[in-house]
């Protein structure tokens, strides 16, 4: 099959004679070149920008991880000193959580939610652009600390007293706290935007219970972000005021209660765990049915177990604090709640397995990563249940057993899910298929590497090797099977294999970009609406908005039941697409590009610099934000009809956004 060339049946006009806003700046109109990216409000471009930036930070965080493992590869490691080691694990976790998994999931959400619900863009396109720039500038801001006296070094959960100026005199934690505020603003605006999009912008007939699971899981995630981000905002503000303005919120000597930080952090931090994993659950819930040639087993159960995880996720935060002396009642309550949250998660694993059961399995790279997630996440989930038993957790707290657990759920779970999504959706986004052979190598090296790296950490942790230990010595390594030195070296070798695995993915991207196979219209025989468009989709996504009458709408347009109750193909993907094109809307005015999102976002790091170094700089940043805000408020989101060339006078213009 080859991609079918179609003359554009729909006119997508771009504004040509832009009216100015605030007198100074005229609306950007470029449709090509860097300007078409920097000032874009198109959810697909922004989705690509989110994902590309996240991938860059994945490499940064990965290099930090490799340095950590090199330091621990041999006794008396000399790669990093203690101080640098502290910065390295702090920034590794911060980068992976806030600058890779979250924005990567946000990138996929940006790109695919509107396509999956049959919309032409998100509810607030400019807020979407602002969110991306705030994330990018926040991420850069946090990492600038490397060059300005040292990065944050208190661990990613930044407990007091390590977060105080006595133990961390550099500006690293200041950069960290303010940078996370900026990325937090991005998450919050993203949550408002995507929830509104999902609730309000669905195509006719797209009831909530007909939405693809990926959209459902993202909806749950965005609600979690909406309510979790403000809590960490408070905590970070208190920390900044303590470090920069002399307050003593977490200073025990001044009578403060350091548990306040722990509570605020984990009330955010535990929902955050589900913020990281649920998007990947959504991805594989799309991938598994497609490559099993079966509908998802128990769709409502997958939806409601996801929602249940979202609710119960708020009642388990203190299981991170079992060792802090909360008292028997709290410990018992949080222990039981934590065991309870394993149930909806288990429901999902059962549903995925039953989806595979009896299916015509097709082991593409996307499918391999999805199955990898089921297996590896289950291992991590089981070790998670052992933490819920408080007496056992007291033994495991702050050991490598914890490190093993969260890498199985986050690497084996979240990251494998994202990789599954890369292989599945790559042809949709770029019109080319990633190399499957390299994908297989990519998968197996990552599986082997990840199990070699994180598997032995269970042993290390149960033997008592503390987390964040920067060096080990031969004398204290022990003997035989429990020789900690052997397993540390083993894990470090594993991390190198893992690195090669990830590297193969990057090579795959390059090879695919150079001479990858052009993807057919429907390469996987897929089921959901995002495949009912061209590869890559047109700027306006759908020539005409489809009316939805089924869960798995695209599948039901291609296949219908025959007299014997068998599903038989009645139409090809090309024919389905042709029907949409034949009813194309004549004039579609998409939301227009704008300078203001990047202008406002640019003000934020300036304010943050000012908070650290000198207040007048912060005022400059404030002025930039205010200026951008007024420009934004005065400029219409979609250019007026008479800005278009030729001016559109007909009544049948469809306005989007």
């Amino acid at each position: 099959m080859a991609i079918i060339e179609r003359p554009p049946s729909t006119e997508v006009a771009t504004p040509a004679t832009p009216s100015s806003s605030l007198g100074a700046l005229k609306r950007p109109v470029s449709t090509t070149g860097w300007k078409s990216w920097v000032f874009t409000v198109d959810h697909k471009k922004l989705g690509i920008m989110y994902s590309a930036t996240a991938l860059f930070f994945f490499i940064v965080g990965g290099l930090e991880a490799v340095l950590i493992r090199l330091q621990l590869a041999a006794p008396n490691g000399k790669v990093l000193n203690a101080d640098l080691y502290n910065q390295m694990f702090t920034m590794h976790a911060t980068t992976m959580v806030f600058l890779f998994v979250m924005p990567m999931a946000a990138g996929l959400a940006n790109y695919f939610i509107p396509l999956q619900i049959g919309a032409r863009d998100v509810a607030f396109p400019r807020i979407n652009a602002f969110g991306f720039w705030a994330f990018l500038f926040g991420g850069i801001f946090i990492n600038l600390s490397w060059f300005m006296g040292g990065a944050a070094d208190g661990g990613w959960f930044m407990y007091a007293p390590n977060s105080g100026p006595v133990f961390s005199p550099s500006h690293g934690i200041d950069f960290w706290a303010l940078g996370l505020q900026i990325t937090g603003i991005a998450s919050l605006t993203g949550a408002v935007n995507l929830i509104t999009t999902v609730l309000n912008m669905r195509a006719p007939g797209m009831k909530l219970m007909r939405m693809p699971i990926f959209t459902w899981m993202q909806l749950v995630v965005q609600f979690l972000l909406l309510f979790a981000v403000p809590v960490i905002t408070v905590a970070l503000f208190l920390l900044s005021f303590q470090r920069n303005f002399g307050a003593t919120f977490f200073d025990v000597a001044a009578g403060a209660d350091p548990l306040l930080w722990q509570h605020l952090f984990w009330i955010f931090g535990h929902p955050e765990v589900y913020i990281l994993i649920l998007p990947s659950f959504g991805v594989i819930s799309e991938v598994l049915p497609v490559f099993s040639r079966k509908p998802l087993f128990g769709y409502p159960f997958v939806v409601f177990s996801g929602a249940a995880i979202g609710f119960v996720g708020w009642g388990v935060w203190a299981h991170h604090m079992f060792a802090s002396g909360l008292g028997p009642v709290s410990v018992a309550v949080f222990s039981v709640a934590t065991m309870a949250i394993a149930v909806p998660t288990g429901v999902k694993v059962v549903n995925w397995t039953m989806t595979l059961w009896g299916g015509k399995l097709e082991f593409t790279a996307a499918m391999k990563f999805a199955i990898g997630l089921i297996v590896l996440f289950t291992i991590g989930g089981l070790s998670g249940v052992t933490h819920s038993v408080a007496p056992s957790d007291t033994q495991q707290t702050d050991t490598y057993y914890i490190v093993a657990h969260f890498h199985y759920v986050l690497f084996g779970g979240a990251i494998f899910g994202l990789f599954s999504g890369f292989y599945y959706w790559w042809p949709k986004v770029f019109g080319k298929l990633l190399n499957e052979k390299l994908g297989t190598w990519n998968f197996w090296l990552m599986v082997i590497g990840m199990n070699m790296t994180f598997g032995p950490m269970h042993i290390l942790g149960l033997q008592g090797q503390p987390r964040r230990m920067y060096v080990w010595t031969e004398q204290r390594a022990g003997e035989g099977f429990f020789n900690l030195g052997f397993w540390n070296t083993f894990a470090s070798i594993g991390s190198l294999i893992l690195t090669v695995g990830v590297l193969l993915f990057l090579i795959n991207i390059v090879i695919t970009a150079r001479n990858g196979k052009i993807a057919p219209l429907d390469p996987w025989n897929a089921r959901s609406l995002e495949w009912m468009t061209s590869n890559p989709p047109k700027e306006h996504n759908f020539d005409s908005i489809p009316t939805v009458s089924h869960l798995d709408e695209f599948f039901h347009r291609k296949y219908q039941e025959d007299a014997n109750g068998q599903m038989v193909q009645v139409k090809t993907a090309e024919q389905v697409l042709k029907e949409l094109e034949d009813n194309a809307d004549a004039h579609i005015h998409m939301p227009s590009p704008s300078y203001w999102p990047i202008v406002i976002a640019l003000g934020l790091p300036v304010i943050a610099f000012g908070m650290i170094y000198s207040i007048p700089i912060a005022l400059v940043g404030g002025v930039i934000v205010l200026f951008g805000t007024y420009g934004w408020a005065i400029e219409p989101s979609t250019a007026p009809d008479d800005d278009f060339d030729p001016p559109t006078t007909t009544k049948d213009v469809v306005h989007v956004g």
Partner: protein, 210 residues
């Protein structure tokens, strides 16, 4: 604190969308209004965190003044009353906006902004008085958490005033009367929310004995 300003600004200024946008949404609620409700839901947790911090630390005065020594409850009651009355004038503004009566909308918005400014002025006066009585920002855990909580609320009121003044300006530029009714209504939602939060803060800080 300027961050929150940016957030408000960003969330509340998409109003132009509906000028051209498709009014048929899946829920029937406009995107802007739904977005504002979501944002306010998020704000509940922001103030929840700040209020929790204050409640934890309000008795920890160290060497500094205790709450009962410095609070001037009659004064704060009056400024609280002024703020609550501004919710009434905000309702009148929204009502006038829906009738397409731009003149009265402007009038009531201006009065709302003035009442809000009176409240903020009262807060500045109060902070100055407390400072002169020895309650600095870093004097004690009580003082820090008090200033952070009431300060965040004050910033919210100030942002509200800026939005009110701005919408008056934007309405003067607009050619069709009543076209900004939804924006006025959204600012109204925000304004009422900030007032309700103050009722909680005022009760917990000033009325419930530590």
């Amino acid at each position: 604190m300027w961050f929150t300003l940016a957030e408000h600004a960003v969330v509340t200024t998409e109003e132009h969308d509906t000028e051209h946008g498709d009014h048929h949404t899946s829920t029937g609620l406009s995107n802007n209004k739904l977005g504002m409700w979501l944002f306010l839901g998020s704000e509940c947790l922001l103030f929840g965190g700040l209020i929790s911090t204050y409640m934890l630390y309000r008795g920890r005065v160290g060497e500094g003044p205790r709450p009962s020594q410095i609070f001037d409850i009659p004064f704060t009651s009056v400024s609280s009353f002024v703020l609550l009355m501004s919710s009434l004038t905000m309702v009148l503004a929204v009502s006038a906006a829906h009738k397409g009566d731009d003149r009265n909308t402007n009038l009531w918005i201006t009065i709302t902004a003035l009442l809000g400014a009176t409240f903020v002025g009262g807060q500045v006066y109060e902070f100055t008085a407390f400072y002169n009585e020895g309650l600095g920002f870093s004097t004690s855990l009580f003082s820090s958490s008090f200033y952070v909580l009431t300060g965040f609320h004050g910033v919210h009121v100030t942002v509200g005033i800026i939005m009110l003044m701005s919408i008056v300006g934007i309405m003067k530029r607009s050619k069709t009367p009543g076209s900004k009714a939804e924006t006025v209504e959204m600012i109204g939602l925000y304004w009422h929310f900030v007032d309700v939060v103050w009722i909680i803060i005022f009760t917990l800080i000033y009325l419930v004995p530590a």
